[in-house]
Symmetry: C2
Subunit: 187 residues, 2 copies
DNA sequence: AAATTCATTTGACAAAAATCAAAAAGCGCC
DNA sequence: GGCGCTTTTTGATTTTTGTCAAATGAATTT
């Protein structure tokens, strides 16, 4: 069984029928650093589960890249502002570190909700999980200083800091690269 | 039918059985300005749908109140960091403007998911909706300046600005009250 | 209406972070 | 190892925002 199905199974134990359906909607692929998975201005009908590697969700503000999200192993990445609304996304997704991903075609999932109650549950639990992650990130951004945010990330994803370029990290922490370099330099 | 049930019905058409279940889990009440609905450090098993009035979700950072969320008419408020995890919440919820609310006892909902597939769907759609709202708010906080955030709020909730004290608004926009006063003074 | 309290604005200054510019460090490649 | 390229650090300066303190304004009570 794949890592992705394992993940779903821990959210809610899968029956054979639902497992087969999910498998029919998923495609595994290997993607290379700097490759784009989505671009702003398009409608996005997929999401990605990261088996290994790192994905980045970002967007442009005044011509600069601002990182909204890193998806590490075991996490998902998508343009939720499009996936759940049908509108055009304002996000880009690219690859920071060569990755093996499970891409889910959401159209298939969406039209199966009615016939697969378990799928509805999986959907609810996945969205809930990501909602909670975003809530945590929001707390970090609003309630804590740049230095606290950096130390928190250091605690959560120590390896990430070696693999992710400083300018990406800086934009994720919402400071300039220079400021982050100084934060890091202290101590 | 109540406004809350109407709201659910637009998310997913309710059958009689599910409607009855939801009704059994909901209590309508009128709450007064400054009244607390939840306090940090407790486990929260409810969420609130706002029929009229304004609720505020906030927390403390260095002894100061920082507003995470306002719930206006037609929106929900809860301590999601507790509701979905069973952990103690770090949020307070209080009343900004006298309100009529529909309080949902989540225990009842949670143990009914298995028998009521429609409930599972409602849950998924409600979480998704709030996830998208948080995504929008996150974009505002990270990608836009304090002035842009103020103008955006002015566009979305013009009435709110008259009813919400400046210090609450300032903490919601993540600036000090003095800075907000200056932003507002310009132009 | 004066007095008390609470909310908002204004001013002077300090702190934090952004900006601009350049130097230093790392890294792949011949 | 040395060369070119990218990434990171450092320095000087400006801008933004926060802090502290006081003044003004609004609302409520007596």
């Amino acid at each position: 069984m794949s890592l992705f199905l394992d993940y779903l199974d821990t959210l809610a134990p899968l029956d054979q029928r639902t497992k087969a359906l999910v498998e029919s909607a998923v495609k595994v692929s290997v993607v290379k650093k700097k490759e784009f998975l989505h671009k702003a201005g398009t409608v996005c009908r997929k999401f990605h589960f990261v088996e290994s590697g790192i994905l980045r969700v970002y967007y442009y503000k005044d011509g600069k890249e601002v990182t909204a999200w890193f998806a590490f192993e075991g996490m998902t990445a998508s343009c939720i502002d499009s996936l759940f609304t049908g509108a055009e996304t304002s996000y880009y997704i690219d690859v920071v570190e060569d990755a093996k991903i499970h891409t889910v075609h959401y159209d298939i999932i969406e039209r199966s909700f009615v016939d697969y109650p378990l799928l509805e549950r999986l959907g609810r639990l996945m969205v809930t999980e990501n909602y909670l992650l975003l809530d945590q990130r929001m707390k970090m951004m609003v309630f804590h200083s740049a230095e606290e945010r950096y130390k928190n990330l250091l605690g959560d994803e120590p390896l990430a800091l070696q693999k992710i370029p400083l300018n990406y990290l800086a934009s994720y922490l919402n400071v300039t690269q220079e400021t982050l370099s100084r934060i890091r330099g202290k101590k």
